[in-house]
Symmetry: C2
Subunit: 224 residues, 2 copies
């Protein structure tokens, strides 16, 4: 309990983190280079993931690294099926625009990573009431990996237009495991300076004030 | 589409990010100082959160900043109730140890932040099949904020031993909103060099090899 001498960071170091966060992008197949991720960079990505916070220090994550073209092509086929149904949910002009978007880089990225949540067989401290905390820990691992990739100038795209059960079957995942993320990972020909869906005017950046409240939402009696 | 000149980072900058990740801790009430978070630091924390990735650039997050003692004390009372039930789920000696752990800093931290997911009224690109993606986007915002806090030498503790419905009621949250995280935020008297639950031998760090698989889980026919 006496080891309270964790490193203190400088303003310049905080600024570096801020720059990495603001430059992180979701990278799709039109940007990936056909250049493998070296062993050292891969270790750094995994190390970042493995040092994410986890509820009750449960570390409930598993990572399947996919490089085989045959496996990727099964995943890609599953994506195509799900995506054509997804497009139907958007109306008129938005549907036309949806169909023109490149939304994944499964085949183009040299590395894909399927990230799973593995439930614990025993109660986990902090997960007894909010049972979704295990899944959220895995998401923290994904975000750590994503930021680390950006700092190494490696792009990551998160593909969520997938049927998790089909992905589990393709990867022979244990029945209890839950697919949290499917990531396409690779070097790129550059990083956009703004989010792609913002540049393409698919969605606007929201005003910060609209998302921030003080001591409760307005109109309540509980905080008066 | 031509703005592909996003910043490239150096090895030293990647190392800084790695150091921040490895030094991030979950901070509880026995470590928080009674020292307010200044406006500039608060803006940096929120800015980090607002630049997290979000599915379809939906930015589905809302943040309630809590400083009023009366609000905190209602949340703390809710925690106490949930935590005494949670302790019962652990057996014998583990239950005794559980009861001695300090697991939150609601009253001690000068700032608490309740982080909510606000569902979209219209279909969101990338969330049509995996509907949990909106929640996961909010978790990415939490992790960005947590890392930014650590870089600013500010501690964050994530309290998940709470009844989300009680918290929503206390904060007068809209019925459709979902509580993702409740964070205790403040300066500290130091950061532990290892995770607290590891130091206290509550859980061990898992071997990396146990969590990493190649091209699928073993034993499957699908990858042969």
């Amino acid at each position: 309990m006496q080891l309270l001498n964790g490193k203190l960071f400088s303003e310049a170091e905080a600024q570096t983190l801020y720059d990495i966060m603001l430059n992180r992008r979701d990278v799709r197949g039109n940007r990936f280079l056909d250049q493998p991720i070296g062993e050292e960079a891969l270790q750094q990505l995994l190390d970042a993931a493995l040092h994410a916070p986890s509820v009750g220090f449960s570390q409930p994550w598993e990572f399947v690294l996919i490089r085989e073209a045959a496996v990727k092509s099964k995943i890609k086929a599953s994506y195509e099926e799900v995506n054509s149904k997804a497009a139907e949910l958007f109306q008129d002009e938005k549907q036309e625009r949806y169909k023109r978007l490149k939304l994944e880089g499964i085949a183009e990225a040299p590395l894909n990573i399927a990230v799973f949540y593995k439930p614990s067989a025993v109660p986990v401290l902090g997960q007894t009431e909010m049972t979704e905390m295990g899944l959220y820990s895995v998401v923290c691992a994904v975000q750590n990996m994503w930021l680390m990739a950006r700092a190494l100038n490696i792009g990551i795209g998160w593909v969520s237009i997938l049927d998790p059960e089909q992905v589990k079957q393709i990867l022979n995942a244990p029945p209890a495991n839950q697919l949290v993320a499917y990531l396409c990972v690779g070097y790129t020909d550059g990083f956009y300076t703004s989010p792609e869906l913002e540049m393409l005017q698919w969605e606007k950046r929201k005003a910060a004030e609209a998302a921030i409240f003080y001591d409760g939402y307005p109109g309540g009696s509980s905080i008066q």
